[in-house]
Assembly symmetry: C2
Homo-oligomer: 359 residues x 2
């Protein structure tokens, strides 16, 4: 395990204003335009987009967050950029949540490496450094700003897998808590819980190490400060959750998830539920497996008065339960981390179905 | 504040064995030898040095840790390397404690930037990237493996100041807890307390931010695990303290120290005491300023049965007290962080002397 850090980060109120300065040397060396991937939400926030000091010749692509990224979508974007003469932009900026930051990562890799997105789904398949890239998270929790992957669904093969590579890691992150002020409360909660839940799983697992544990503990600590507070979206709490997301991402680099993420992946693959809300739904059934985190999670939910969808995996067809079983049980490493080598003895078809029924 | 991270780190038992593999690409690209700076202690540990797979043509320099580095010493080393045709080694390895890691940093900067060490004492004076460098810490606590400085005393000007620069940051750290197994207990304690004390000062200060706080809290948490345990030097605790040192170093990058480091600097400059033991000596007088940390620090001392020197700054000459006063009070930023803008009202000559008398 040789962990690649994000090269530089800046954090705090007004840090977005540093973006033009950070892009400047790259614009001058490469004499090229910058490609901005921006969460479509910001189309209605021109005063924020204005802060990016987008130049003539730059390209702005608003990213839809209705669906999580697919390999086909990444290929399309790359073709579009190439057709517009943007094969080698001076830099790429990904401003948004996990989806937007992941799209920017994947495109940055493809522009320098060639080929198609699916060629790089896996581990260390990216061969040369990506375009220099900056993340500007506008949601907190997924940790996409810090990780070495960018999750994509391959609709042809059904595979949901990222380009796991040191080259996928961002060169610069800008963490400006102003940017999460307008996030809907539910979404703020769900994404924050992504960081919390990952770290709960990591600390309960059998694959452990001192640094992953340290990042996980402090991420959980920050989540407690935020979600047990009366106003989880105060400026200070938004700053804390931004840091929790980053440190949670650092934890992901050195640890494994457990039971919750595989079940959540099942909900995403079979029922199309978004990752972060799916995690929270899975928590409905996790009392036997993570009793302390279960209690704490529901304390967060009650304190913040959040509604977690219920019953999404009841009354499904046999075929759907079979799909849910298959797409959960496939996550060998996390499930071994949680339950040991013989996890399939615990998670047989009946148990898995009853867990989904309990959600 | 745009914080430069260490590019890569590896942690855990046996990670030293990865060093030859990590050096390999640099050896082949630059077709050059590697310069190893190794704490002189390891001259008596050939089985560890053998793991470094030192090649013919490489240069090994054993670093004395009797005195903290001086600018003159750095210049001498650079001249020696240049005279031996080693102007552009393929890589530099710094294996040791804070002193050795700092020497390697300073030399790596000078070899590419030219001139003398004192030309770069200050902030952002280093102009071009240093030689690629790897830190192998064999002591835990100073955080030198993670910081953007390398402390040097300039004997001509009396200035103790590092080359504060993003280029000073290591490209790679190897954290192998095997390497701290032979550290004398006292030294292990003193260096560990350097991380602890820095973070105590940071969290009590008025210049704060969410990420510095997060790193500081977790560093303190790790120190508690280590120093309240029966065997502070068990393998697990050595691994924890290595991580605490790294995260403590990350905290330094985003925070300020307070009252303890300036007084400790006074002891170093005037009485020649080493930084880490000097910090602990200062803690003798810190009950009024850091009451909780004072209590916890002495609980660590008692649990681990460590002797902290006492009375080192009693019965000095008037001239020495004047020097102590001057070399403490000069640290404007940390003292403002601890006591506010008017810190000189609190820390007048009499108060400063009585604090030194209490040590």
């Amino acid at each position: 395990m040789n962990v690649r850090n994000v090269l530089r980060y800046t954090v705090g109120e007004g840090s977005l204003a540093e973006l033009p300065q950070l892009l400047k040397p790259h614009r001058s060396i490469h004499d090229g335009p910058v490609v901005f991937f921006i969460d479509e939400f910001f189309q209605s926030r021109p005063q924020i987009v204005a802060q990016l000091s987008i130049s003539e010749g730059d390209k702005v692509l608003y990213v839809s967050t209705t669906d999580e990224p697919s390999t086909g979508q990444i290929d399309q974007i790359v073709e579009q950029l190439q057709a517009g003469g943007l094969n080698k932009p001076a830099a790429i900026v990904g401003m948004g949540g996990g989806i937007t930051m992941d799209v920017a990562k994947a495109v940055a890799n493809l522009l320098t490496n060639g080929g198609h997105a699916e060629d790089y789904q896996g581990w260390d398949l990216v061969k040369v450094p990506a375009i220099y890239k900056i993340a500007v998270p506008t949601l907190s929790g997924t940790g996409a700003e810090a990780t070495r992957t960018c999750v994509m669904t391959n609709k042809r093969t059904g595979l949901k897998l990222g380009m796991n590579s040191d080259f996928t890691v961002y060169d610069q992150i800008i963490m400006d808590p102003e940017l999460t002020a307008t996030v809907p409360r539910n979404q703020y909660f769900f994404t924050g819980m992504d960081a919390y839940i990952h770290c709960v799983e990591a600390l309960a697992g059998s694959y452990r190490n001192a640094i992953g544990d340290a990042y996980s503990r402090e991420t959980i600590n920050l989540c407690r400060q935020v979600f047990l507070d009366g106003d989880m979206m105060s400026f200070r709490n938004r700053e804390r959750l931004m840091v929790a997301s980053y440190l949670g991402g650092c934890s992901i680099a050195t640890s494994y998830v457990g039971l919750i993420h595989p079940f959540s992946a099942g909900l995403s693959v079979v029922l199309g539920l978004h990752h972060c809300v799916a995690n929270c739904i899975v928590m409905r059934a996790m009392q036997p497996y993570y009793p302390n985190a279960y209690k704490e999670f529901w304390a967060f939910v009650n304190k913040q008065n959040i509604e977690i969808p219920e019953g999404v995996a009841r009354n499904l067809s046999d075929n759907q339960y079979e799909q849910l079983f298959a797409s959960t049980i496939i996550h060998q490493k996390p499930l071994t981390n949680a339950l040991g080598e013989s996890y399939r003895d615990v998670l047989n078809r009946d148990t898995v179905k009853s867990i989904f029924m309990n959600m």
